[in-house]
Symmetry: C2
Subunit: 190 residues, 2 copies
Amino acid sequence: MQRMEEMILTQGKVLPGGILKVGSFLNQQIDSVFLREMGEEIASLYSGSGVTKILTIESSGIAIAAAAGIVMGVPVVFAKKHRTSNVDGAIYAAPVHSFTHGIDYQAVVSTDYLTDRDTVLIVDDFLASGNALHGLVDLCGQAGARVAGMAIAIEKCFQGGGDELRAAGYRVESLAMIDSMTDTEITFRR
Amino acid sequence: MQRMEEMILTQGKVLPGGILKVGSFLNQQIDSVFLREMGEEIASLYSGSGVTKILTIESSGIAIAAAAGIVMGVPVVFAKKHRTSNVDGAIYAAPVHSFTHGIDYQAVVSTDYLTDRDTVLIVDDFLASGNALHGLVDLCGQAGARVAGMAIAIEKCFQGGGDELRAAGYRVESLAMIDSMTDTEITFRR
């Protein structure tokens, strides 16, 4: 998606430690016009795939998943990062390690919201090592749901998670794919 | 908003401790068609109010804020619940106590995303004691931004936060207002 690459080049900022800051349009602040375009792009990529549900994980994937859900007209489920008082009853849970925050957590979803009748599109903002996505795939597996594929705003290809998921047979669509980045240059894969 | 009341009556569930579970359409799972309607309702309530930005707090307000942002065409900013490695530079911070989770946290937003040129619509899923909203109002005050008002999916009137904010001069619009609830009956204020 050319507009995503332009937004990254004009508004993104590379921070020490290989972090790409896109807070002005994708994270802390979301450009709503662009958000709608992302939703339309994702819907277009997965049209005809029989998607019945979108699955994401709190919190930075929620807006993108909601935008895609609004265009596709399917429910959006978000996995929580730990068990809270608002999740009652039976749950599926999968362990995830976050490199960004240096912590381990459980991705948790109620068994009510993911079933063996679902065909799931997994949506997230970033794909790096792929740990969060593996956790979400694990949740789908526990529910007996089919995974139609994944839609990601920005993939950091150099961290390998996306190619590993593709090699494992999953469809992974990223709106921008970064092959390399330094504080002066960002190179995209096309 | 009549549809919100219907959704609460048909799909909501009152849990012990005065928690209203609306996970099937508003929290863990979001009904996308209804989400779009919420966005349209909020946009309609605040049309002509000069809103330049929507402010919410992670994570359960994000989808509603995104839906309203998409309809209104204004950026959505979400305050984070603690300082993470993805928020660099200067920030505004306000203390918030969460009754639901029994914890205190900081609501944090980068100074880049909230300015004295902004007229802010604050959006959240629930309004009970109003602590989170007070934190978000505090952030707007620190930035010198004007608060146009608040749009809330569900207000628990019996916890008093909404009426307190109205008494303080804020415009508070709630899509459903619950005057009382037990596990067998929910009464709405109209």
